[in-house]
């Protein structure tokens, strides 16, 4: 009796895994295939220079003395009309030489108008909320401090706003430290598939692209219409994407607006980054899924795609559940008589790699980018997959635990930078003693190393 019940439960769990993961796999392959076919190409670059609105560029900074000069100089070198450009470095309680660098640039270039924060809640969303009040542009663009935008990026990111339905724009993030470690190489594959294949395919197919909070922009009027940044969200970018979508605004993707970033080089940094994304993303899922389903102006396909996007991190525990159920069946001889076990193992095994980006998406992105050497790293993506799955499950466990007990979750973490030997410093450490580990802010807890950044 107990064995029969165990087999039935395992069966049901495996069927659940297969259905959910199968649906995700179909979606991944559809997007990859669509990209391979170069279907419905949508290119906004022909609009570059057609209209040049007044823009404000935000650069959230916290202890960024090693990289601040690079991004400010890169923005100065951009080919955007200085009369229509306003750059606001948001220096959030830096304790290093960031302020001096920013002030030096502000003294030389009148369109650079620094905003120095000395108090208040830490974290990028909170800083952006304050800085936005000072902005005079019609379009707000955002770059993390360690990014290096190319000369034409501002124009490229501004071009899609010619379309009045476009509320936000996302450019492409390209890792520059691919060869520094195995992890950074694998993450470059993930980014490559995520932008070149998934973002572009979704945009081409008429789905809303995902605003990433950096190398992107938002229309000032649209931001005001949805009530501004959500300072309580750990992924204010995802939050804004869906707030805009539900208010009728679209997010465009500009594949050629490339900006170089530094991806994590060691797993500890990556795990914390992933943990923040999982928490913020899943929070958005809970906040937005009812409104998404009710939205009358969104097609069924758009709603489905949006839900797939919001729920993507839930696939990790579903995979684990499938494995556990398969393991249980392996040890039950009665289960060997039916072909459920091999079928389940096959499907689950087949989906092993398709959690973040399927092979096809990676391969197509690599072909389109012409980065052939990177393709040879693909078999090693298995390691990244296992590492991601564990970290995502752990982050979800914490998220739901905190949600159940009504306590706060992890706060903002400043991703450790390694460029130019930058040492990651505790965000806001200067504002409170190191021993004061937690500070409750609107239901969230900000740890010592809370911070802003990618």
């Amino acid at each position: 009796m107990a064995v029969t019940a165990l087999i039935t439960i395992s069966w049901l769990l495996i069927v659940l895994s297969m259905l959910v993961l199968g649906a995700y796999a179909v979606r991944h392959y559809y997007l990859g295939y669509s990209r391979m076919r170069l279907e419905h190409p949508r290119e906004t670059n022909e609009l570059v220079g057609f209209v040049m609105p007044r823009i404000t560029v935000f650069i959230p900074m916290h202890n960024e003395e090693k990289v601040a000069r690079d991004i400010l100089q890169a923005l100065v070198d951009c080919d955007y009309d200085w009369e229509l450009l306003e750059v606001i470095p948001v220096n959030d309680r830096s304790t290093d030489g960031t302020r001096a660098i920013v002030d030096e640039f502000a003294g030389r270039y009148p369109f650079i108008k620094p905003y120095h924060r000395t108090e208040g809640v830490g974290g990028k969303p909170a800083a952006l909320v304050e800085a936005t009040e000072l902005a005079t542009g019609d379009i707000y663009l955002m770059f993390d401090a360690d990014y290096v935008p190319g000369r034409a990026v501002l124009k490229m990111l501004t071009a899609p706003f010619v379309d009045p339905e476009i509320g936000a724009v996302m450019g492409r993030v390209v890792p520059h430290n691919i060869g520094d470690s195995l992890l950074s190489g694998l993450l470059s594959l993930e980014r490559c598939a995520g932008y070149q294949s998934v973002q572009q395919a979704r945009f081409n197919l008429g789905f809303t692209a995902q605003f990433g909070g950096t190398v992107g922009g938002v229309r000032a009027a649209a931001l005001r219409a949805v009530g501004g940044w959500n300072p309580e969200s750990l992924t204010e970018d995802t939050d804004l994407t869906f707030a805009l979508l539900l208010s009728g605004w679209r997010t465009a993707y500009v594949n050629r607006a490339e900006c170089y970033e530094e991806v994590p080089q060691d797993w500890a940094v990556r795990r914390r980054q992933l943990s923040r994304w999982v928490t913020g993303h899943t929070e958005c899922l809970h906040n937005y899924w009812p409104d998404l389903l009710r939205a009358r102006f969104l097609s069924r396909e758009e709603k489905t795609d949006a839900l797939f996007l919001l729920a993507m991190y839930l696939t990790a525990p579903i995979i684990v559940i499938g494995w556990v159920a398969s393991l249980v069946l392996f040890f039950i001889p009665e289960a060997h008589a039916v072909p459920v076990l091999p079928v389940a193992m096959l499907i689950i095994g087949y989906l092993l790699f398709s959690n973040q980006a399927t092979f096809l998406e990676i391969g197509v992105a690599t072909l389109l980018d012409g980065t052939r050497l990177r393709a040879l790293l693909m078999p090693l993506s298995l390691l990244n997959f296992f590492a991601n799955t564990g970290a995502i499950c752990n982050a979800l466990r914490k998220f739901y635990w905190n949600r159940f007990w009504g306590s706060g979750g992890d706060g903002w973490y400043k991703t450790h930078r390694t460029r130019l030997d930058t040492e990651g410093q505790a965000f806001g450490a200067g504002a409170k003693p190191a021993g004061a580990a937690r500070q409750s802010v609107k239901g969230l807890y900000y740890a010592n190393n809370e911070g802003m950044g990618d």
Binding site: P342, Y350, G363, L368, G370, M378
Partner: protein, 241 residues
Amino acid sequence: MQLTRARVGIALGFAFAVFILLAYFAVPLMALHSSMADTLLRWAGIPNAGWEPVSVFPGLEPGSGPLVPVPTFSQVSEGARFALILGIVALLIVARRFSLFRNLANFLIVLLLVSAVVNVFFDTFQLQSKVFGQIWLRQELLVWLLMPFVSLLLFLLPQPNLGVGLGWMALVQVYGFLFSVLRFVFCVGMLHHTGLLFMPLLWFALGTLSDLLFLLFFYSISVYRTSGQLWGVRSSWQSQL
């Protein structure tokens, strides 16, 4: 390169043709699989009393499973038990030293521990080699049957030259078959020498995961080569993005 409807149609036709051929010749294929495995088992000195028919899938049977003696936990040699402990320790070291491997290593440790617990507390539980052969064939037959459609997307469509794509497709299919024989013989050998101790781990690592890994290995090489060939015409791709 453009994926025209005609090209997609032809490629899909090839995939279906291979699928139908494989389904039609499934029984002889499984017999060949068993025959090759039998030869390798004899070379490896693993005693096999013969092959018994096993059901695989309705309409695609019978296959056959080997009759290799399998020890229970109490019959397993001290060396095998020591190897289990050594395996766990080695994986613990890997998990400790290489953070990127940690989750994979931890999962493998769990598989070994679960196996150890089941062996210790349910000594009578035994996986017969014939049953293992049945499970294996069910899994691999599915892989062989699905492979043409996976190859369609991974190898046939992205290739500028359809002939080269078909070559990759054939290579993957043949390699998958031969690789399956090797892995099966290794697993049966381990089953004979160590009983059920390592089987969950082997089943996980050498089962579909290995199929996927070799597929990915070939795919990465294929993309690497194709990318080089397409370099000259890449501008025409990107002009249509």
